[in-house]
C-alpha cells in the first residue's frame, strides 16, 4: 500500500509556532540568532538596562547546557527562563511553548529569546516570534552573510556587534551593509558596541517602535 503524505517535516513545529504566536499576540517577540561569542547575551543586558524602566521585559535563554546566561540576565532584575536543549543546536517551537508556561505573560511588553549560538539551523525553526534578528560581531569576519545566507535572508534586523574593535580587524563594514541591504531590503541595519554604547540607542528605539506597532495592531485586532 502506498500512502501519499505530502507532509512537511517541520509542520508540527509550524503548528506549535502558530499557537505561540497567538499567546504572544500582545507582546513583541524577538528571536536573537548569532554565533557563539557574537555578543547576544551582552546585547540583551544592555538592551534590558536601557528599556526596563519603561517596559516589562521577559527573556528566554536557550543554551545547550548551563544556566550561566540566565544568571547574567537575572542580574538585570527581569523575568528569565533558561532552556537547556541538552545537545540540540537550536530552539524549536515546543521548547518555547514550555518556557511560556513558566513566564508570567500578563503585562509583558517585550519577550527576548536568545537562541543557541549557531548561524545555521536556528533560522529553519519558527518559534512564533515577530522578528528574527541576526547578530554578527566584527571579529567573525565580513564573509559570514555570504556563507550563512538563510539567517541573514530571514532576519528583520541585523546587528553588528563589537564595533569598537573595527580598527583592529579587516571587517569590511560597508561591504556587509551593502550585501545585507541588497539581499534583504526590508532588514534594518544597526552597528553597535556594548563597550562604547555606539548604536544602542538606535537599536532600542527600533524595538520601541516595534512594540508600539504591535500594541496598536492588537488593539485594532
Amino acid at each position: 500500500m502506498k500512502v501519499i503524505m505530502a507532509q512537511k517535516i517541520l509542520q508540527a513545529n509550524q503548528d506549535i509556532a502558530e499557537q505561540n504566536r497567538e499567546r504572544l499576540s500582545q507582546i513583541l517577540t524577538v528571536n536573537l540568532i548569532g554565533s557563539p561569542g557574537a555578543g547576544k547575551t551582552t546585547l540583551l543586558e544592555r538592551t534590558i538596562a536601557s528599556l526596563k524602566k519603561d517596559f516589562a521585559i521577559g527573556v528566554i535563554e536557550g543554551d545547550i547546557s548551563t544556566t550561566l546566561d540566565a544568571e547574567r540576565i537575572a542580574g538585570q532584575g527581569v523575568e528569565v527562563v533558561q532552556i537547556n536543549t541538552e545537545g540540540a543546536c537550536h530552539l524549536d517551537a515546543s521548547l518555547i511553548s514550555k518556557a511560556l508556561q513558566e513566564l508570567d505573560l500578563s503585562g509583558l511588553d517585550l519577550l527576548l529569546i536568545e537562541n543557541v549560538g549557531n548561524l545555521v539551523c536556528p533560522a529553519e525553526f519558527d518559534l512564533g516570534e515577530d522578528y528574527k534578528v541576526a547578530l554578527l560581531s566584527v571579529t567573525e569576519g565580513s564573509d559570514k552573510p555570504a556563507k550563512y545566507p538563510l539567517v541573514f535572508h530571514e532576519a528583520r534586523a541585523m546587528v553588528i556587534t563589537k564595533a569598537d574593535l573595527l580598527p583592529y580587524t579587516n571587517f569590511d563594514l560597508k561591504a556587509v551593509e551593502e550585501e545585507i541591504k541588497a539581499a534583504n531590503p526590508a532588514a534594518n541595519f544597526f552597528v553597535t558596541s556594548a563597550q562604547t554604547g555606539e548604536g544602542l540607542e538606535a537599536w532600542c528605539s527600533w524595538l520601541k517602535d516595534a512594540m508600539q506597532k504591535k500594541r496598536g495592531l492588537s488593539a485594532i485586532g
Binding site: M1, K2, V3, I4, M5, A6, Q7, K8, I9, L10, Q11, A12, N13, A88, C89, H90, D92, V120, C121, A123, E124, A146, P149, L150, H153, E179, A182, A183, P185
Partner: protein, 113 residues
Amino acid sequence: MHELALTAELLKLLERNAQEKGIKRIRKVKLVIGAMTSVLPSALEFSFYALKEGPLFDEAQLEIEERPGRGHCQDCQAEVVLDNWCIMCPSCGSRRVAIDQGRELYIDFYEGE
C-alpha cells in the same frame, strides 16, 4: 546536527500516520529535500538508519529526491538557477532574487502493509 532532530520528527510523523492507516511494516519512505534548505541529505539518511527501530521500520528504506533551487530575479525577471545559497542573478548581478523552488522539505509518500 539538526538532521537528527528532523529525522526524529520524521519517524514520529510516519509512526502516527501508519497507526491511523493500520500499517504494520513500512518498506519505503520517499522524501523531498530542496537545495535551499540547510538540510544535508546524507546526514538525514545517516540519521534515518541510525534512529529507526522496531518492527514498523525494520525493513524501511529511505529514498531522497533532491530538488534543485530555482528562482527569478525581481529586477530583470531572469530565471535563476540557485545553488548553495549563492543568491545572485547571473544576468544583472542583482541580489533581489525570489526563491521559487528549493525550500521543500516534506514526506512525499511511504509504502508498507
